[in-house]
Symmetry: C2
Subunit: 688 residues, 2 copies
């Protein structure tokens, strides 16, 4: 259909601008510039193309919208209001206020219609790549002749800030490689960032760079007024099926303000008199606020109607599909319901102490292979460390464009390249496609999860089930040395709210880690896994480990000391306990594979694992920061590691059964000499 | 001079290959592929161009070499040996062994001649940009007509892995903008990464991308044999004064091995029979190991001689310079000696309790302005948050290419763009130029230091004085909300060895933070600074705060409770103490601006600040992870923050004088009821 912008469109655009302006002014805080500049593109996109049903915000085949420049969220909230999502004028008036649904940056789970959490620059860009991957995969997996159940587009708005960020570069390069024709980015090329003109730091040829990534690059020279140009660009982007598209939209930031085109309009409310003039210029009464003209209401009511009809048609198609493809339909319904397949957990292997010693990365490989057969939504991948992370099951199909002959979009193994941050943020996008549609597991060395810290943080804040397969988890990796040996990484992510860090000690604990990671639907998990072999421990079980911490070795009568350890150091603690027992010293051993899950147990249980009455000594091959919560003395490494064969590095840092036993003896005699009762550190903290 | 490669060159190249091979084989661990592939480029570069004096590895105007693909370090160690650095054949035989000077990846400070720590991919690339910035700045600052004291090149080897990393993309974009003609990157385009062919994930047009960044891009089609082509490319790169150059060198990984050109030769020693065949092919006796033919020795002896002569000439020039430009020469000598200017510390302002309440970011602005006038090597900058970080002093000149009219290379303010990770890694490179030549201070929001975690880690491991000006350090930033409010960040960097995290509570503590950051020559510092105003505290002083922790408020007689707090929460603890005092409860207050520095004090001092005898309650607007080391009860936020005006967010999380006082009352009564002595958590830990 030809596009005919009319006066109602112009009015709608100015409505978006003034609504965003009123929203920011009312809060006396926020970013008016980008919403005012991007209002035309937003209006053309949403009024003419965007498919969504505000009455059913989770309709699976809706188009996805990502505001990667999340500081412009007054724009997004305004649009959500106009479209009829549960964002009222009162909500707009509560912008950036305590416990409102219109926080300072868009947050998944807080505002209906917000697909991902954005604001930290570059993240939304990569999330959108993940959302596009999810559509491509689900379409390839479930669509049939005449049934295009998954065919939505992912639209993303982005700005200079995002495009300077490495995480967006990584994701863009991969998106081009993957030929994601369903991904359309609108780049707000307003030449302004916080420091001023982009000429001071960002003079690269962005269009050429994206062409180098194999994107289609289109330019709209006048993004403020050329509505037809915007329309045609989006149309051309939708028509290009084998490349993502970047629409370079030249706009004026704060369009309409007397300070338009400067960074003065970026991050602060506009002055009162400027606001008055803007409203007059746009034909609005400056003494009225939060005004939506009827014509604008009508346009957006029609969009909502269009979306509701589209969903209705989709539902009809799905009903027919169901009749023809019962299994597939049942799988889709199960995934939409957010349920794992019945009985999937039977795939988790259990181990006996007589079983072979195995590296936990290898245990993870076995698990992924088993789980891949029973959980079809599990999609694995690695940042170019597949043979080290062991994330790929035999006969896995790579997720690749058919054209390159290396796999196809039904593939469940993603080759992320050496792009850890991009991978983490893309995984957030994959998970954001919704419910159990896809569950991403992503691999790298534990040390390099830190490269993706910005993305992990948003997994946690957004309550997304992303599973990091983080191998080579300590000095136990040996020769690669301190540049690759994490010592602080686990502490970092333990300090992050809503993030489960697992450090399994053997096969049963590895099964537990996967069980908990998969069933913690609103929490990311980092599975820290060894390169080196671990013995199967006497006393471990999936059930016990599911509690995050448990008593592995109990003693008869009053214990003299309790060891508490994680992962590869549990066996060292057990060895120390055995050495002590030969001297008549009674040593308990607790395994604490996941602090976060252990903390969630009741006090009585926790104190049964780490009881009063005897000193507690921790053993973990990391910096000891954080251990005072659980133990009196800490065996660890409060420096960087060393490059050498693993056993020698362990010995260098006093992480041997013998050295740990000596440390325990010291603790025992110190507390004996003190002559006072010994309290578990937990004991005081739980009471306070 | 025309280049005439001869048989000795070929022999030298094969010597490098076989030495690297023997090195990896002896360790039975390491990466033979890239050294074998890059040996020709390495030989041409070092034999014909590279200027260094192995007898004086720190000669300030030496060319810098960065091996960004640090896993190829067998190549670098081999070259250092041949050049005559303190890397013996025995050291090569100790590759990847405990406490050797040839660890698994190159480490600054461990091996003479290694300029930066590499291995974590992409870091070296950005370090090289920093080294090039340093040269450009020092040249512009100190060179005079006929005196080109600073004119070295920075050469960097890099691989596919680095070029996929966002940190390298960020740095490359900035390097192009800055027109760094002194930077020459040799890209080992061997089409192989760990997962296999780059065709599976990295199919972008790298050359075009770098052209988009405004680099000169040259290609050597046969990097294995075309020595003349390599020579000419380096020559052309040196001739281009206004652009950095990427030389795309097409090579075969593991050249000479029967598995050459596959990922099989990337990260594991080659098979014994393969090694035999390779040596034969290259004309070496397979039964001899670590062999350096005389012809090769001679070539590299000549290189060393050339370098020694160059330094001698430089020294003569410097002596003349000294006569003509005494002040500049004295400044250069002081910087090379690693000394701050005499009396610089007098610039640190002191504050009285009657002085105005000021945000610590604002205090930092005042400090930077004062320090900039007395410490000329201090170079500031921000990742596009200058007006928020307040990192730019009035009248600062931007570090920019003269051609763009926005500054020049004498400028001491760097506009990094929205590139936090790149900024952190570039700052490492700037610091790596050596001694006090330049001291980088870099700004972003505290929350986004996490984006640069990979670079911060290497600052710490490499013992580099990089100063992060990390503003907006908590929920106190208010409306921007949880996406921007750090809660875990400080714990993360506290867990990192050799990284000082400062959270000053007022003006005196901010002065102390800068004093310690500038004088901690081998440690990076993160200064966490507030957006909101902080009162000047009664009892604070620079001297006390320099200890990392001190008693701010003492009581007469036996205290009932001790508060311990940091930064903006110290004033809240003081308020709580005052509230309690009205009820006759004696509350001490300790301020702990820097845990790392406090930990380094003697036990007696530490226990005087956090003594036995009364419960200790911490107050900090972060997750409480780690506080059990110092306190019994912790007032903090074990979840994400909230978007609202700052005071409301503080109230929501119970961080008010009143709420904190109540928490203290609870702790007091708990311990009273217990009826046992109360030990400072430090007390046990120090004894154990």
């Amino acid at each position: 259909m030809p596009f005919q912008p009319n006066q109602d469109d112009v009015k709608a655009i100015n409505t978006i601008r003034t609504l965003a302006l009123d929203t920011v002014n009312k809060a006396n805080s926020g970013h008016p510039g980008a919403p005012m500049g991007m209002a035309p593109a937003a209006h053309v996109l949403f009024s003419r193309f965007f498919q969504c049903n505000p009455q059913d915000p989770k309709w699976v085949n809706r188009d996805r919208f990502v505001l990667s420049n999340g500081h412009a969220c007054a724009l997004q909230y305004t649009l959500l209001h106009l479209l009829g999502y549960k964002v009222s004028i009162d909500d707009l008036k509560q912008f950036r206020q305590l416990d409102s649904i219109t926080p300072g940056h868009p947050e998944l789970g807080v505002t209906e219609g917000v697909e991902v959490t954005t604001g930290p620059l570059g993240q939304g860009f990569a999330n959108a790549v993940g959302l596009a991957i999810a559509q491509a995969h689900l379409g390839a997996t479930f669509n049939k002749d005449n049934f295009s159940l998954f065919d939505n587009y992912t639209y993303m708005f982005t700005g200079d800030g995002c495009l300077m960020e490495g995480v967006a570069s990584e994701a863009a390069s991969l998106a081009g490689h993957l030929q994601l024709g369903n991904l359309i980015a609108v780049y707000d090329d307003n030449q302004i960032s916080i420091d001023g003109s982009t000429s001071i730091a960002f003079t690269e040829d962005v269009g050429k760079r994206f062409e180098a990534y194999d994107w289609q690059v289109l330019t709209v020279e006048d993004g403020n007024d050329d509505l037809e140009g915007i329309y045609k660009a989006i149309e051309a982007a939708r028509a290009e099926k084998n490349k993502p598209t970047l629409i370079r939209l030249k706009t004026v930031i704060g369009f309409g303000s007397r300070d338009q085109g400067t960074h003065g309009v970026h991050g602060n409310p506009l002055k009162a008199d400027d606001t008055v003039e803007i409203k007059k210029k746009f034909g609005f009464n400056p003494e009225e606020f939060f005004v939506v003209p009827d014509e604008t209401k009508k346009i957006y009511a029609d969009v909502a109607k269009r979306g509701a009809e589209a969903e209705k048609k989709w539902q009809q198609a799905f009903d027919e599909y169901k009749a023809k493809y019962a299994d597939e339909a049942a799988d889709i319904e199960r995934r939409i319901a957010g349920k794992l397949p019945q009985g999937w957990e039977k795939a988790l292997p259990e181990f006996k102490p007589t079983d072979d010693a195995v590296a936990s990365r290898k245990l993870s490989e076995v698990l992924l292979a088993k789980l891949s057969t029973v959980i079809p939504e599990l999609v694995s991948g690695s940042a170019d460390l597949t043979p080290s992370n062991l994330t790929r099951w035999k006969n896995a199909v790579d997720f690749q464009p058919k054209a390159n002959g290396l796999g196809d979009y039904t593939g469940r193994y993603i080759r992320y390249g050496v792009r850890e941050h991009g991978m983490g943020a893309i995984a957030n996008g994959i998970a954001a496609y919704g419910a159990n549609l896809m569950i991403p597991a992503i691999g790298t060395f534990l040390n390099f999860v830190s490269y993706a810290a910005g993305a992990v943080r948003l997994s946690a804040l957004s309550h997304q089930r992303v599973i990091w397969v983080a191998t080579h988890d300590s000095i136990g990796l040996g020769e690669d040395g301190p540049t690759h040996q994490p010592v602080e990484t686990v502490a970092h992510f333990r300090a992050l709210p809503n993030c489960n860090v697992w450090r399994p000690a053997d096969g049963n604990e590895t099964s537990a880690a996967y069980y908990m990671a998969l069933t913690s639907t609103h929490t990311p998990s980092i599975l820290a896994l060894t390169r080196q072999n671990l013995p199967q421990l006497e006393g471990s079980s999936i059930e016990k480990a599911n509690k995050g911490g448990y008593t592995l070795v109990e003693v008869d009568g009053k214990p003299d000391v309790t060891f508490v350890a994680t992962g590869s150091e549990v066996a060292i603690a057990v060895e120390a306990a055995e050495l002590l027992s030969k001297q008549g010293v009674k040593a308990r051993v607790a395994s604490l594979p996941c602090w976060e899950v252990f903390r969630a147990q009741d006090s009585q249980y926790k104190l049964s694992v780490l009881p009063d009455g005897a000193p507690i000594v921790s053993v973990e091959a990391y910096t000891t920061m954080g251990w005072a919560e659980f133990s009196h003395a800490h065996c660890g490494i409060d420096t960087f590691g060393a490059s050498a064969p693993a056993k020698q590095v362990y010995a260098k840092f006093g992480l041997t059964g013998e050295a740990v036993a000596k440390r325990a003896e010291k603790a025992i005699s110190y507390f004996r000499d003190l002559g006072h009762p010994v309290y578990s550190p937990l004991s005081h903290q739980l009471a306070l």
